[in-house]
Symmetry: C2
Subunit: 243 residues, 2 copies
Amino acid sequence: MTERFDLYYWPGLQGRGEFPRLVLEAAEAPYRDMARLDETEGGGVPAMMAILETGIGGRIPFAPPFLVENGKLVAQAAEVSAWLGERLGLAPTGEADRLFARTIALTTADLVAEAHDTHHPVGTGLYYEDQKPEALRRATEFRRERMPKFLGWYERLLMANGSGFLAGDRLTYADLGLFQIVEGLRYAFPRRMAAIETDYRRVLALRDRVAGDPPIARYLASPRRIPFNEDGIFRRYPELDGD
Amino acid sequence: MTERFDLYYWPGLQGRGEFPRLVLEAAEAPYRDMARLDETEGGGVPAMMAILETGIGGRIPFAPPFLVENGKLVAQAAEVSAWLGERLGLAPTGEADRLFARTIALTTADLVAEAHDTHHPVGTGLYYEDQKPEALRRATEFRRERMPKFLGWYERLLMANGSGFLAGDRLTYADLGLFQIVEGLRYAFPRRMAAIETDYRRVLALRDRVAGDPPIARYLASPRRIPFNEDGIFRRYPELDGD
């Protein structure tokens, strides 16, 4: 049986779905982006909502993104990315590195949650406009304390590893995740990134290397790559940015 | 070579370290709680800080908890718990369930982060006292919207699975995580839990089953179980609780 991956995520935004999507694209794997597919082909948001309601074989995801393959369901962006990476040759080969790549992906997921909370510090159920004072404080903390801490950690990993990749000696889903982080931070916090990003030259070199990977370059130029926008995790609200 | 697990986490609080600790205890695995060990035995906070600085074999964790075994390093509470559970017989046996248990553990980690942010909605670098108005709003959202959503999801999983466990048909690290969630929510939000917890009778039954598991019961009665306190993730600030 030919493997085929069905990825489920909200249409119209990159969000957390972009992390597994980048792995599928880098591997040139056969996949369907289900919620963006027409309802006549079994796709659309209703198909996604049905799985959120009843699951697959009693396994119910808490939220998108999730992936279905051959009756198995995996949710959580970091877990889907790791599982796909290990299946599709985008994971380290050695055991210790394979394990550590998972640690990196989960830490990246934490950074994504913190980036999200810069515009939703009170709750996802409320509009940004209804939590602006809190967002201004949280975004300031995020820019000043968290961005350098996370970016500095990736930089130290690259320095310690020495191969130009975060774990092992080839491109993995951990690197694809860092690419997306740099792109997202540049979109959401252009002034802050302009002020600090040159401190992380190994991170930027890896970002460029991923962007130049032929399948990824083709993907980024395709309509499959949804532009960043203010429905996603990384949102450009100028009042939340600063040096 | 006999396996031995070295767990590193801040001493004096349960925090995120409690998730892997519960797995080690339930499996009665040989482990050392390194930061609580005397410095003359190679433990203490300085030993932990040294690994946060330089890593193990170039693999540097972002934050505790992390686990070291035979030269390998794993960080992130959900990943450490999953890795230990799969090693120590506290994971589902079937492939689809093994995979889904990881999804559950990562979702539990998201809930833990949200519980943390009820008292630190602006940033971890600031005192609770310096973010009280934001904490009041976030905690209200958490109690009203997020607690029922997460607890309701676990309840649906238990209903769909039917074995009394979250994944597969035996006790796993996913169940241990849910036990800790119930304990933590009861500690931090006693009024809210009293008001809603009977809606989740399968969750409560699993909590009781875990508490009665002999190795866990022995652990909970031992000095190794640190009491909940206001340095941890789940903090009892009466002003953040409510029906």
